[in-house]
């Protein structure tokens, strides 16, 4: 994002697009914070705020995709520019879906609050939700700074969210065995836990995009060790700027 092009207009377009993407990221982060607040306070007030923000996230996704299409058609970018634009498209999609998950959490919290089963371990999910929200923030920071080290840290920490999810499912099962009346709200909680786990995965996808932009290496579906090797390697020949 910092290299100069012959056409500074192109530079401006790329910078503007990145700004819009990160603004959308900020919106999704706020959505996650509010979903977390809804979870923490058992409040449908915060839940309503998340549902209202959902529309803005969707609108931004469409606007960014539109700008992206126009830039690709007009500039026919290559090398790092092409990777950047492809990654912006992927990050946008992942952010939108993370926003969807936040809305899902908000809807479930509303349902649980209305059903009035306060004894369920709603608070256990706070930790995981907080962790997932921080992963998204970390991945977006890495994207803004094109920082592969922070991106790799995000990949590693996603495993912690997955562990939280497994532990929570085991715990829910004990609640459902204890009291069959808890099954319906427990299923809602399970969906919340799943949504949180998915948010962690979206953060991971964004982090993989950062590595792709900087190193030109596609590290999706690769082990952590392979990813680390790809990060420490120089950018692949032929993938750099001609």
């Amino acid at each position: 994002m910092t290299d100069k092009h012959l056409s500074s207009q192109f530079d401006n377009e790329l910078a503007q697009l990145s700004s819009n993407l990160l603004a959308m990221g900020g919106l999704v982060e706020a959505q996650l914070r509010q979903a977390l607040a809804a979870l923490t306070n058992h409040s449908d007030e915060f839940a309503e705020a998340v549902l209202a923000g959902e529309l803005r996230v969707n609108a931004m996704e469409v606007a960014i995709d539109d700008a992206l299409t126009r830039i690709i058609a007009r500039r026919q970018p290559a090398a790092v520019d092409l990777r950047l634009l492809l990654s912006i498209a992927r990050v946008t999609g992942n952010l939108e879906r993370a926003g969807d998950e936040a809305a899902k959490i908000a809807r479930m919290v509303r349902a649980i609050v209305n059903s009035g089963m306060p004894t369920l371990p709603l608070s256990d999910l706070q930790l995981a939700c907080d962790l997932a929200a921080r992963l998204i923030a970390q991945a977006l920071d890495a994207f803004a700074r094109l920082d592969t080290i922070a991106a790799f840290a995000t990949l590693k920490e996603d495993a912690a969210v997955d562990r939280e999810f497994d532990g929570f499912v085991r715990k829910l099962i004990t609640y459902m065995m204890e009291d069959p009346r808890a099954i319906t709200p427990s299923l809602d909680l399970l969906f919340i836990a799943k949504a949180i786990e998915r948010i962690g995965d979206h953060a991971k996808n964004i982090a993989e995009c950062v590595i792709y932009v900087v190193k030109g290496a596609d590290v999706r579906h690769r082990s952590l060790a392979e990813t680390e090797a790809a990060i420490s390697a120089a950018p692949e020949a032929g993938m750099g700027r001609p």
Partner: protein, 422 residues
């Protein structure tokens, strides 16, 4: 003729030689002047040597001046870094030119690496982005959540924006977390005081109306008057505690000169505790063991230390319950600090309450520790007063407790105020 030619040739040869030497000097001089450093100056004779010497002198002056202004800039940047408030200098586009340490902590930035980054790329909170990109005037300061501090606690920021120079921007951020907490505490305090004063007043008003309107028997009248007396005692205790608190806040620190006889004071507080225990649970129901023999004295305010000790004992009596077992004693640790420790075997306190226990009107549980006579329930200010007193005496209040394991409250008092008994 021939000799003339020879002389001419010789002159020519000498001139050519001089010319070559001069060319060489010029070349060396030019080579040096392309990247002049004082130490690498060529040793040249003649005009070129003079030129080099002058250049070197000018160069030296310039270098000294540059070093001085670099030092000034360094001092200035160090000073900016030491500021408690955050300072961000941004260019016209909003890219970071400079960021001091406080701003980096407030926004989660890196002072070195994030130079040249657009501020809105890293501070993505929609509140901030909207506020920052809004071009209208006037622009009120923005209150927003900042990057959590080192211990992960949330931080509240007040951010201001100021244009400077040729379309550069200055962002100032101040941490107002403590201020907001104080505001919230003050609001709670006023609400609690009003509530705690209104409740006995409502009860009193009800009884007074009854007494005025109904023709009651003497026994009933006596009962009602007794209840009214209870309520007035409760209000008296509350107002007394409030006055104590405000006096503690406003008055100068207790003098070092006043010698407190800890033996007598402890005996007095113990007697109070026994009386309270008997009133609440009947005689001998609770097991109280208070060691009143103390082999040192203390410099400070007797009334303040006395009220701190009474508060701890009264709390233990109230919360330990009818079969409670309470021990209290003074001791001195290895560093000479005095320590008054009250231990009970009550229900204990959950970890989340511990840090807030000394807040005014903070109660563990609205239903617990309420007694028939409301005046015995405590005002909710006891530990706040205790903490104030201890801190005024250069000590601290230590609380150790866990649910089901009883509690241990300890007054730790600075060794400087402990007086050995003659």
């Amino acid at each position: 003729m021939n000799s003339l030619l020879a002389a001419l040739l010789l002159l020519l040869a000498i001139a050519a030689g001089l010319w070559v030497i001069d060319r060489q000097r010029a070349r060396r001089f030019l080579r040096w002047i392309a990247d002049p450093t004082a130490s690498a100056m060529p040793d040249l004779a003649g005009a070129w040597g003079l030129a080099a010497a002058y250049t070197r002198r000018a160069l030296g002056r310039e270098e000294t001046r540059a070093a001085a202004s670099a030092a000034r800039l360094d001092t200035l940047l160090t000073a900016l870094d030491a500021l408690p408030d955050g300072i961000l200098l941004l260019d016209r586009e909003g890219r970071i030119l400079f960021c001091n340490a406080a701003a980096a902590a407030h926004f989660g930035l890196d002072t070195k690496r994030d130079q040249g980054q657009h501020i809105a790329h890293l501070v993505r909170d929609p509140l901030f982005v909207t506020w920052f990109s809004w071009s209208g005037e006037p622009r009120p300061p923005l209150e927003m959540p900042g990057h959590p501090d080192a211990s992960g606690q949330p931080v509240q920021l007040l951010v201001q924006r100021q244009a400077y120079g040729a379309d550069c921007l200055l962002l100032l951020s101040a941490d107002i977390t403590a201020q907001r907490q104080t505001d919230a505490m003050r609001r709670d305090f006023v609400a609690n005081v009003s509530h705690d004063i209104r409740t006995p007043l409502t009860v009193l008003a009800g009884f007074i109306e009854t007494l005025q309107n109904l023709d009651l028997s003497a026994a009933e009248k006596a009962r009602y008057l007794g209840l009214m007396a209870q309520q007035t005692r409760r209000m008296q205790a509350l107002v007394g505690d409030l006055l104590t608190l405000s006096r503690l806040e406003g008055s100068p620190l207790p003098s070092q000169g006043e010698r407190v006889d800890l033996n007598a004071l402890t005996a007095h507080c113990a007697a109070e505790a026994f009386a309270l225990s008997t009133r609440l649970y009947g005689p001998e129901a609770q097991h109280l063991r208070i060691e009143t023999a103390v082999d040192f004295d203390f410099a400070g305010s007797a009334s303040e230390i006395g009220s701190a000790m009474s508060n701890l004992l009264a709390n233990a009596v109230r919360y330990a319950g009818a079969k409670g077992c309470i021990t209290a004693r003074w001791s001195r640790d290895g560093e000479g600090q005095a320590r008054f420790e009250v231990t009970d075997n009550g229900p204990g306190i959950a970890a989340e309450h511990l840090p807030r226990l000394t807040e005014r009107f903070y109660r563990l549980d609205k239903s617990r520790a309420r007694f028939a006579d409301d005046a015995d329930s405590g005002t909710g200010l006891g530990l706040a007063i205790t903490r104030h007193v201890v801190e005024r005496h250069g000590g601290k209040l230590q609380i150790v407790s866990a649910p089901g394991q009883g509690s241990r409250f300890a007054l730790l008092l600075a060794s400087a105020r402990v007086l050995a008994r003659a």
